[in-house]
Amino acid sequence: MIENYAILPCNGLDKCAGVISREIGLKLCKNNHNEIICPVFARIADVKYHKITDQYPLLIIDGCATRCASKLALEKGFKVSKKITVTEEAKNNHLELTNTLKLGENENALMDIILNKLATPEEKAAPTSGQANVEYHFDYETFQNGKFLFRVPKNPEIYYNENDCWAYVIGNRARIGVTDFVQQNLSDILYFTPPDMDAEIEQFGEVGEIESSKMLIDLISPVSGKVVLINDTLIEKPELINKNPYELGWIAELELTDFESDKEFLIGFDKYFEIMKKKVEGLK
């Protein structure tokens, strides 16, 4: 079981998903050395809880996609370590939740699934043999707009999609990430949701999310493949994406499944640089 988490449930007591969120929070605290944060009290007096969030990693349990608990954490400056959304888990597990507040068979099954998921240590894949010594070099072109500097690597091994994500392809493997356009546009990145290890990602499929106080964006994969490595440093330090989204802030590595087909929808440095400049100008 997970231990020593500070837990912030959404506690939305007018919806089934909120009730489940609350119940999960209570169960985790009953069985373990976790500390619960009351979202109602935290809204008016968060000082008490900063001591707990400074001491323990923070687990957010959002009920639905309105993500009230996540927004509260952002508003109060709590650093988030892990998030789970009840309705998303219900969808992933093909469980339909009741419209009432009474928890039945599906709701209890979902609670067990979520508790079990939280209890299972996350898989971390080691680099496969032959990959550990791969070195990534970046040769940048820059573009200044006011006080903002945009770097774009011009290495021929790097491909881009028009969703501002890059893939550095070596052999049958690609390291992927976002460009400076994304990190400048989002401003301070506060949370990174990685893709699942071993997940099969389609080209233009989601390969994680990043979130700032301004917005949340899906990371749209430039290539198709299986996730074989995640930059899990970003879970604790998402700000590395702001620092350098190519070197320190890369997202994941994929074992490519159909790169020859993927290339049809990818562009190289010259084209992306022009597109990015137009987008930057459009922000004015």
Partner: protein, 97 residues
């Protein structure tokens, strides 16, 4: 050709936009507050208080507004069908070049 293109294809030819299920939408306007591209428009005084006003402003393959939707009222087209359509249009454009 329009200035607004995606993968070299005129954006207006690409069917990628949110669709609102009004039987679920509670008009909380979270999607409108969230989207920086003015895809939605709020009509406070009307019965249908939220519409998709600028579908071509929607970033192709972005579904982020649907992730902010508590009642799960927003859907998008199937990604593979959109990719297929873009591919067909590009091939047609190449054959005319």
């Amino acid at each position: 050709m329009s200035e607004n293109t995606f993968m070299g294809v005129d954006r207006s030819k690409i069917d990628w936009k949110p669709t609102i299920d009004y039987s679920k939408c509670n008009f909380c306007m979270e999607c409108d507050k969230f989207c920086p591209h003015q895809v939605f428009e709020v009509h406070e005084t009307e019965e249908i208080k939220l519409v998709v006003k600028n579908p071509n402003n929607c970033v192709v393959f972005c579904r982020a507004c649907s992730k902010c939707c508590g009642p799960d009222a927003i859907t998008f087209p199937a990604k593979n069908e959109t990719i297929q359509k873009i591919s067909e249009i590009r091939k047609e454009m190449e054959s005319h070049d």
